[in-house]
């Protein structure tokens, strides 16, 4: 009998990371597109760093930062009384950092496509920046926001290196599907690896199809 707990953990991690990242990435993308921020290019490069860094390198830095000697890990422990490393919360934090560029990029593209005059018109009609975001920008970039959510979800399901570094492989806590597949192969349990891999393929494929349908290029048939 195949252990379905890693699959459940992967989906749970992806769902939590997606929900949190949508809330975090929206104001970041909004600020990057519609506001003049000093050092904007430096900030963008920093957000995009996880795309180019090897996951193990990023995982190592996160291991240090979230550990009991790291400033973030220490602050967390003093506030919540429990450590971050090798916990589900720890891998959520790690995956937020790792997937942030995948949330920001499609949202930024969607916000860039909004005609500036719509925003100016909303200002003229008396809306404050918060109302402009919720009443004008968000409703007119729903496809981009949905594409961003799906990309983050899929990317989180596929995470391996960063999760392994920060969370290890604790069954029921941090042992997600990708790690379980790796361990099954190492233990020569190929049938388990096959079944778990097969379960992930249709999920990812359907979500990718959705992304393709939602991106403007696909809508224009180019």
């Amino acid at each position: 009998m195949v252990d379905l707990l890693p699959l459940y953990l992967s989906l749970k991690l992806a769902a939590v990371s997606t929900a949190v990242l949508m809330v975090v990435a929206a104001p970041i993308s909004y600020a990057l597109v519609f506001h003049r921020i000093p050092g904007k290019s430096f900030l963008e490069a920093l957000i995009n760093l996880p795309i180019v860094l090897p996951p193990t390198v990023l995982g190592f830095y996160l291991l240090v930062a979230l550990g009991p000697r790291g400033s973030f890990g220490r602050a967390w422990e003093s506030v919540f009384g429990s450590p971050l490393l090798f916990t589900f919360t720890g891998i959520v934090v790690a995956s937020l950092v790792y997937s942030l560029p995948f949330a920001v990029a499609p949202m930024k593209t969607a916000f860039c496509r909004i005609d500036r005059r719509l925003v100016e018109n909303a200002q003229i009609l008396g809306l404050n920046p918060m109302a402009i975001f919720f009443r004008v920008i968000l409703p007119n970039s729903l496809a981009g926001v949905a594409a961003s959510a799906i990309l983050v979800f899929l990317h989180t399901i596929g995470e391996f290196g960063v999760i392994l570094m920060v969370g290890g492989s604790i069954p029921g806590k941090t042992k997600v599907a990708s790690i379980a597949i790796f361990e099954a192969v190492e233990a020569l349990r190929y049938s388990d690896a096959w079944l778990m891999s097969l379960a992930l393929v249709p999920v990812c494929y359907v979500f990718l199809l959705l992304v393709n349908r939602l991106t403007p290029e696909a809508q224009h048939g180019t």
Partner: protein
């Protein structure tokens, strides 16, 4: 309840330096060639651009006084603005676009009926014609009971028939609105047709002597670019004679 404007701004190729006022119920047309600074003037009045120096007030409320460091944000000025191209919210129906910032529902219904687009209430902006969209944009601007109405070449993207219809509509309702209306256009014929006052702007400055020049250039340009039917030709000639008389009177 006048709109008073005295503004200076350094632009890329020249310095904008204009002073004017517009009383309630009057329509002031700012006329000039492309790149003369017309749009910048109304963007500054709206608070979308910042002047380098100057003063703007409306109904005894100061909107901008650069020497005192006052520059009221756009959203607090209570203006109506009709853009050159369509800026309706594509995710909302015609009714919801007009009601977006309206003071009350009765106003929305009244405006939609007055501009003859009540029957399009449920339609989305991309499903209606350019003229209908621009009428909807005017309704949206008026629905919040603005203190000033600013219009940036609102008819320039429309076909000749829609343009004529909207010009006539604006001409007939302007006195009912009881607010100053600033209308930016490069078309002197349009200005002479609907405006109470004309302010020609060239290279960021008011140049009254250019009215007649604009008139002649516009007429020649119109004739060169289209091949009108005999009836249209006759109507244009009649309009030309009428507008020439008006322009000459204006120059006196």
């Amino acid at each position: 309840m006048e709109l008073d404007v005295r503004i200076k701004k350094k632009l890329k190729h020249f310095d904008l330096d204009v002073s004017f006022s517009c009383a309630e119920g009057r329509l002031l047309a700012i006329v000039g060639p492309s790149g003369a600074g017309k749009t910048t003037i109304i963007r500054i009045i709206a608070g979308l651009d910042r002047p380098d120096a100057g003063f703007i007030s409306c109904r005894d409320t100061v909107w901008a006084d650069m020497s005192a460091g006052i520059n009221v944000p756009t959203r607090k000025r209570g203006i109506g603005y009709v853009f050159q191209e369509f800026t309706l919210f594509p995710n909302l129906s015609v009714y919801k676009n007009v009601a977006f910032a309206a003071r009350n529902r009765d106003t929305v219904e009244y405006l939609l009926k007055m501009f003859d687009i009540w029957h399009l209430c449920e339609s989305r902006p991309h499903l209606i014609s350019g003229g209908e969209r621009q009428r909807c944009a005017i309704c949206q601007a008026l629905a919040r009971d603005p203190k000033v109405l600013l219009m940036d070449e609102p008819f320039s993207a429309l076909d000749a028939l829609s343009r004529r219809k909207l010009r006539e509509m604006m001409k007939s309702i302007k006195s009912e609105l009881h607010i100053p209306i600033i209308h930016v256009t490069h078309d002197i014929r349009e200005a002479l047709f609907i405006a109470d006052d004309i302010m020609p702007v060239v290279q960021g400055r008011v140049e009254q002597k250019w009215v007649m020049h604009f008139m002649l250039t516009a007429r020649d340009f119109d004739r060169a670019r289209c091949s009108p039917t005999r009836a249209e030709k006759r109507r244009d000639e009649e309009e030309d004679i009428e507008l020439s008389i008006k322009a000459k009177e204006y120059m006196k």
